[in-house]
């Protein structure tokens, strides 16, 4: 059913009895042209674009739990594209372009809200780094502008720009097109649209093995619901990328860490934009529901536990309270963790693998939500055509061999 005002009103009169399932719940077929492992935003978007843009509709998305239950359902939803290196700029801006009318394309309100992402600078070195980003972005055509402390305050009134704080705000880089989107809606919107195009979404089905034929090429996946044949397989398993890739004997340059986030009790609007501070480690925005959504840090050790230490939250809230001292009495309502797969250069891998027919989309670490539409779009292209889209051409596995890293971390760029 097409979502519209009309359908809402009609259904209101019909006791909302007529709403169909948003996606089908089929039994797995014996085989598919493409099997996507992982029903997060990236996997579902990949399936959607395979069907919508490449005419490949015999596709299954296989999810071990419930779709969106991985990092897609756990992230602080920050969307921006003001990365440093041209490769990253191209990739993330590709996604930002798609965000602009994603709700309309999917006929699902993903609540992309371009309320602006303001990244604060606290030291002379920060200022230099911010400006380098701004100049690089401007040349590339990405909006990113410098705000003085007073302009930062005007843009985000609860911000403390007093000189007396430990690391006073010296200014900030603002990407106005940046903002947030509703994480769950992105997952469900892609699932609904993909399912509508014939993609099978198979939940509660864990991939336990990857089968290759005599030539070494992909032939099937083993799952908790049986063997499913596949001509091509795309791994889009985020925190579990290493685990799944190991099933095909592919060893990845990844480590998985717990990353925490938290929300406050709901408040009337107070934080109008997204505030990020790399130097003192704080990320905050306010959801449309009113809770403050705050990103904490990763724990220091590899873990698949989806929890984390309290001291990580403490460090985050120290920074939040320092930046917005009016929030000290506000209370935390819920905290949680996700498992992020991080690469040595903090840039993703979207590429073929040495195994014919096996493709990998991973390594988004702490910051892949924003890329969901672009990642799915480019990855679908890569799978469909056996060659990368220009937006992801540089994000190969090979770069770790040659040393051609896309090192956003080294360049003092930030996560999220």
């Amino acid at each position: 059913m097409h979502f519209s005002y009309l359908s809402l009103i009609r259904q209101a009169f019909a006791a909302n009895a007529g709403w169909p399932r948003q996606w089908r719940d089929p039994e797995p077929k014996p085989a598919y042209d493409v099997v996507i492992i992982g029903g997060g935003g990236h996997g579902l978007a990949t399936a959607y674009y395979l069907a919508a843009e490449h005419g490949i509709r015999n596709v299954a998305v296989i999810e071990r739990g419930w779709i969106g239950g991985g990092n897609s359902g756990r992230n602080t939803t920050i969307v921006r594209s003001n990365y440093l290196w041209e490769e990253s700029e191209a990739l993330y801006d590709h996604a930002l372009d798609i965000w602009q009318d994603l709700s309309q394309v999917l006929n699902y309100n993903v609540m992309y809200s371009a309320r602006g992402v303001l990244m604060l600078a606290h030291t002379v070195h920060d200022v230099q780094s911010s400006k380098r980003h701004i100049h690089a972005n401007r040349l590339f055509g990405i909006d990113n502008e410098w705000l003085t402390p007073e302009e930062c305050k005007a843009f985000c009134p609860p911000l403390n720009i007093a000189k007396t704080i430990r690391y006073p705000v010296l200014g900030g880089a603002l990407q106005r097109k940046g903002g947030v989107a509703r994480h769950d809606a992105v997952v469900w919107g892609y699932a609904r649209a993909a399912s509508g195009l014939g993609v099978d979404i198979i939940q509660n089905c864990e991939v336990t093995g990857i089968r290759r034929d005599a030539s070494g090429a992909i032939e099937a996946v083993e799952t908790t619901r049986g063997r499913i044949g596949a001509k091509k397989v795309g791994i889009v398993a985020a925190g579990h990328s290493s685990v799944v890739a190991a099933m095909a004997d592919v060893r990845l340059p990844l480590e998985s860490y717990p990353l925490q986030a938290l929300v406050s009790e709901p408040l009337k609007p107070i934080v109008p934009c997204v505030i990020m501070s790399n130097t003192i480690h704080a990320y905050i925005s306010q959801s449309d529901k009113g809770d403050l959504v705050i990103g904490a840090g990763t724990d220091q050790y590899v873990s698949y536990s989806q929890t984390g230490g309290l001291y990580i939250n403490n460090a985050t809230l120290e920074a939040i309270c320092e930046l917005m001292p009016t929030l000290r009495r506000v209370r935390m309502m819920r905290g949680w963790g996700g498992i992020v797969d991080t690469t040595p250069d903090r840039s993703p891998i979207l590429s073929k693998t040495p195994v014919p027919g096996l493709f990998i989309n991973c390594g988004w670490g702490t910051g892949g939500f924003k890329a969901t539409p672009g990642s799915g779009h480019a990855f679908a292209h890569t799978i469909a055509r056996d060659e990368p889209h220009p937006a992801n051409a540089a994000f190969t596995l090979e770069r770790f061999r040659s040393g051609r890293l896309i090192d956003e971390a080294a360049a003092a760029a930030v996560a999220h």
């Binding site: 290493s242 685990v243 990845l252 998985s256 590899v302 001291y311 040595p344 770790f400 061999r401």
Partner: protein
């Protein structure tokens, strides 16, 4: 905050320690191939299950040591000094499963 048993100082809180990444990754010589150096620098087992890793009691005795930890429960299974051989993780895992069942 984990509780970690330093082989020198005993049980101490995690904030005194730094995790130093996977253990037993041998530094190759200058004649290493491209793959070997890439393996050494970047590729990690990242196992969901038991891993051997390095810790440093940086705000304590300052020593590096190795540990085997389960990456789902975050429980330490074995702690040993740098230079001691890598435990057989498969055997350890099997013995743990035994414990869990009994």
């Amino acid at each position: 905050m984990l509780l970690i048993r330093c082989p020198y100082c005993g049980e101490r809180p995690e904030i005194e320690f730094r995790n130093m990444g996977e253990a037993h990754i041998l530094r190759p010589g200058t004649d290493a191939s491209d793959d070997e150096i890439a393996d050494f620098l970047y590729r990690r087992s990242n196992t969901k299950g038991l891993i051997a890793e390095r810790w440093r009691h940086v705000h304590g005795c300052s020593r590096f040591f190795n540990a085997v930890r389960h990456t789902v429960t975050d429980k330490f299974v074995s702690i040993y000094k740098t230079g001691e051989p890598k435990p057989d993780l498969t055997a350890l895992a099997a013995s743990l499963n035994g414990v869990a069942r009994s």
